[in-house]
């Protein structure tokens, strides 16, 4: 009888100071969060604020909150910068490039992980080696030039498509979670390898493949130097190069430049809201795998 009361009083005694401390900690935590949000969101808010100013207002008061929003800035930036075609190019390069990389990961990593291809261990080493290749800017240019694929959309897409990074490694890890018995059962039912790979494995592996696709897509979407080197015709530029060129032309008109930057950033932010879950968990998966 006395033992439980003792422990209960003991517990009560030790927890009395805790709520106050916890409350203080919690306030501190939210203050830190506010600081973090400020650091990450203020630059974008400031970008929007600048994008809405007229040139005169920006020169008179660059930092203050916009008084007379110039929505036409976005229209001007869009028309002068030709961003429609840049964004279309980027979507094409990113979509097809990441699809090629994901396809490579699927058709190479599945048989290697299962041991359906001779020399399994060596292929696994290859998957690690592709992570540590040297900067090959020079030879990538020379290769495409010699194949007559320089300044060619297909050439650029192939170059970014093989930037598979961690994809094959990630996928060969994932394949182990698909039971081998499924292969055997399907084969017994007379399902061929291709049908098995594309209509059985593919749907099962969708989350993993989506992660691989998105990781590579983010990289391709951000690529700027390879595109500068491999493409010469401005009508083929992705949005990164296009925006950088726009900066070169309008470097003294910050409101217009900010509007252009915002035009590029807005679809990314909206798209990010949708894929955010895959992306964040994807990086977690990549590290565990």
């Amino acid at each position: 009888m006395s033992a439980p009361t003792l422990t209960r009083r003991d517990a009560a005694a030790s927890t009395t100071p805790a709520p106050r401390r916890r409350k203080k900690l919690r306030i501190g935590a939210y203050l830190l969060i506010a600081l973090i949000l400020l650091v990450f969101l203020f630059p974008l808010a400031y970008l929007l604020n600048t994008a809405l100013k007229s040139n005169a207002e920006f020169i008179a008061d660059p930092v203050g909150i916009v008084r007379d929003p110039q929505w036409a800035n976005f229209l001007d930036a869009w028309n002068q910068g030709n961003f429609g075609s840049y964004i279309l190019n980027s979507v094409l390069y990113t979509g097809v490039g990441a699809a090629i990389g994901t396809f490579i990961a699927l058709v190479m990593a599945f048989p290697v992980s299962r041991g359906y291809i001779r020399g399994g261990k060596w292929w696994s080493i290859l998957f690690v080696v592709v992570l540590f290749l040297p900067n090959a800017l020079i030879t990538q240019f020379q290769l495409l030039y010699r194949l007559s694929l320089y300044d060619n959309r297909l050439g650029y897409i192939l170059m970014v498509g093989v930037g598979v990074g961690i994809g094959p490694l990630l996928f060969s890890g994932f394949v182990k979670s698909i039971p081998v018995e499924l292969d055997e059962a399907a084969a017994l039912d007379g399902v061929g390898y291709w049908r098995y790979l594309f209509s059985f494995v593919f749907p099962l592996a969708k989350p993993a493949l989506a992660t691989i696709f998105i990781l590579q897509a983010v990289w391709i979407w951000n690529e700027i130097i390879l595109a500068t080197v491999l493409l010469a015709d401005p009508s083929k530029f992705p949005v990164t190069v296009g925006l950088y060129a726009f900066k070169g032309t309008y470097s003294n008109q910050w409101p217009l430049l900010a509007a252009a930057t915002f035009i590029v950033a807005a679809p990314l932010i909206i798209g990010y809201i949708f894929i955010q879950r895959y992306l964040v968990s994807g990086v977690i998966g990549a590290v565990k795998g």
Partner: protein
């Protein structure tokens, strides 16, 4: 090869595997091996000029007195950039990850916000920071003027590299935070409860529980961070251009030597020479990651 092959024919497996391998090898591996080969030649940017073997001449040039000021500058910029951006990235990411692992309201939103710059990418990040540190009047200029100071920011050779590092950390911090979060979530809750019952202070729990349990995530983060930072040049390119002496890293030197043609100190662009810089960088990345891996593994064992 221990597993048997259940499907009737091996042809399809070999065909699709072969297609993948050929594309990967031709466009991924051939250029990578080609860099090594080209680094022993005097290949030029202009086509149809004769290409000669020059042995290790390009490497000798890289370390020769005539080019050493450029080479040493790029080497030191690369190392300073990689060292400081990785250190701050890891420290800040660890703090933020611990904070965002607490049961706070709306923490998924905070996580998403921290990860967002990764998606915005180099050009947007670069332009946003150019705007913030804009000399003709931006928030940074205003803040400095409150204290009676002024600065050319990215135009000032003394602090340009430091500012690029700040922008880089802002851009890549989210990835490290997410990696740490995955590590933190793997620590069983019971350990924290046990430590609480034993009367461990917050600092003690951090030092003797969180850090040792996080050791694999720290290794992954440091390694990824160093390898990325040693090779990254996209943000530097957008923020300060390829020819800025004070921020020129090795990768940018490769770009300038191979395609820029305005390096200022060299007369003509040589892609062979640029390839040798790529190889120097490759060796640097390999050596630094092996040392880092060895050091971190040893620490992991000690903890």
């Amino acid at each position: 090869m221990s597993q048997s092959f259940p499907f009737p024919r091996r042809g399809p497996v070999r065909l699709t595997f072969g297609i993948g391998l050929v594309v990967l090898a031709l466009f991924g591996l051939v250029p990578a091996v080609g860099v090594l080969v080209v680094s022993f030649t005097d290949l030029r940017g202009l086509p149809y000029l004769p290409v000669n073997w020059v042995g290790i001449q390009n490497y000798l040039d890289f370390f020769s007195p005539a080019k050493w000021s450029d080479s040493a500058n790029a080497l030191s910029n690369t190392i300073v950039f990689a060292f400081f951006s990785t250190i701050f990235q890891i420290a800040l990411a660890l703090g933020i990850a611990i904070l965002l692992n607490k049961p706070l309201r709306g923490r998924n939103f905070y996580r998403a916000v921290v990860f967002m710059p990764t998606v915005l990418g180099v050009t947007v990040t670069g332009l946003v920071f150019s705007l913030l540190f804009n000399v003709s009047g931006g928030p940074a200029t205003s803040v400095l003027s409150w204290f009676g100071g002024e600065s050319a920011f990215f135009g000032d050779p003394k602090i340009a590299l430091a500012l690029v590092i700040v922008a880089q950390i802002w851009m890549v911090l989210g990835v490290s935070v997410v990696i740490f979060l995955s590590g933190l979530q793997a620590i069983p809750e019971e350990l924290h409860e046990a430590a609480n019952i034993d009367g461990a202070s917050g600092w003690q729990r951090f030092r003797f529980l969180t850090i040792p349990m996080l050791a694999p995530s720290i290794t992954a983060n440091v390694l990824l961070g160093i390898v990325n930072a040693l090779q990254s040049y996209q943000l530097t390119y957008v923020l300060t251009g390829p020819n800025n002496h004070s921020t020129q890293v090795l990768s940018l030197l490769v770009y300038v030597q191979g395609f820029g043609g305005k390096s200022g100190t060299t007369l003509s662009q040589s892609q062979g020479y640029a390839a040798s810089i790529s190889m120097v960088q490759f060796v640097l990345v390999g050596a630094v990651s092996l040392i880092a891996l060895w050091f971190l593994r040893r620490r992991e064992a000690k903890l």
